[in-house]
Subunit: 214 residues, 2 copies
DNA sequence: TAGATTGTTAATCGATTAACAATC
DNA sequence: TAGATTGTTAATCGATTAACAATC
């Protein structure tokens, strides 16, 4: 009974729709047409209607889309109506930055525990969240119903860590290590490869005039 | 005299080729066929050959690709043979994490200065790099030949900051704020929207079985 | 009712895959 | 030379855009 099979391109656009609709909502805008939204987002009305209709008819002919309703619906599609318990593995600079980022909680992503192999860090807190030794991870995951792990450890350790996490029952991995993890098909991996993002920027800088920006 | 016009999809794959070739090179592998590389990267040989040929013939019939040569060529295409001077704006948790990340330097991206509006932070150093008040930015950019700015400030400040940076002559912006910046067409913006990445993960978790994972 | 705007089908465009002749 | 493997053209597949009938 699930949706047909939404293309990757559409999925990648959903969070951006969500962001714009959130802003419109906060601005007190009640309704918006695909045309106006397209102008704001610098995309096409056709694409917006096409994208939204993958999930059902959220609009109304002659009226457009109700901002608050559409915002909520997209939130539901993105699964933001559900709570997720996360652990963060690797309390280095990036790990600490993410642990300090409170906005994730607003969306239902709650970091319950932080793990690091450095004994000097054990017991320390980041926003109430204690840093624990890796050995306690298994028990913690099971006890706290953890379904997502954030990996902010070096690539040399990440592959092995991912394997272990899968064994512990984790369902999704947000991977910041510069490797491709090798996990079963039913485990969701979302990669954030910062250095690759920077290289893309570099490429575009390197080939200006030719390329057309963004 | 620049390349025809490379598709976005191809560009996004280049850094990943570069990463795999770098690993092969470090492992002492001398040559590789598109077929073997495809197997390693879980893509198709056809796509690899097609992608590389956008930039010229780097291989040799009957032999394959010379790893070291191809690695260097892709590096050049990505502009990694050139040095870039960067500034980082916003010395919060994420900004500090990025400033501490030494690997960018290896690729020619050198953070020369850090700016923050918080006076308490001024004068402090992150890896030799001093944190300075925003007022000194203009002079610094011009004096140090800065061409890339990293934005790790709240979205409310990012739009204005980007506008100013463009005026100062910056060419590229690596944007970590959750907004779309509004800059002229010849300015390159590369966005890292962490919360959107997390929402994508959330969507996929929410629709497992249906989707076919990453 | 008339006007606006969606939902949806059809047309176009672009990207990926398959195939194979060229050539090392 | 024979075998391997590229570079490149053609075929297929998918995503975007355009158009318009349905309907609020």
């Amino acid at each position: 009974m699930d949706e047909k099979s939404i293309s990757r391109a559409v999925i990648k656009r959903l969070p951006r729709y969500f962001r714009y609709l959130g802003e419109l909502k906060d601005d007190g805008v009640e309704r918006i047409s695909s045309n106006d939204l397209a102008a704001k987002m610098k995309t096409s009305a056709s694409q917006i209607r096409q994208d939204l209709n993958q999930f059902g008819g959220f609009g109304q002919q002659g009226y457009g889309y109700n901002v608050k309703y559409l915002y909520e619906e997209i939130g539901n599609i993105l699964g933001l109506n559900k709570k997720h318990n996360l652990i963060l593995i690797g309390a280095g600079n990036l790990g600490q930055a993410l642990a300090n980022y409170v906005n994730f909680e607003k969306r239902g992503f709650i970091i319950k525990g932080i793990f690091d192999k450095d004994t000097a860090k054990h017991g320390r807190l980041i926003r109430d969240i204690p840093i624990s030794p890796m050995e306690e991870m298994e028990q913690f995951v099971k006890k706290n119903d953890i379904d997502i792990a954030i990996l902010t450890i070096p690539k040399t350790e990440a592959v092995e860590a991912a394997k272990i996490l899968v064994r512990y029952g984790i369902k999704g991995i947000w991977n910041f290590a510069h490797v491709d993890l090798n996990v079963p098909d039913d485990i969701i991996v979302e990669n954030v490869h910062l250095s690759e993002s920077l290289m893309e920027l570099s490429y575009k800088l390197n080939s200006t005039i030719t390329g057309k920006g963004e």
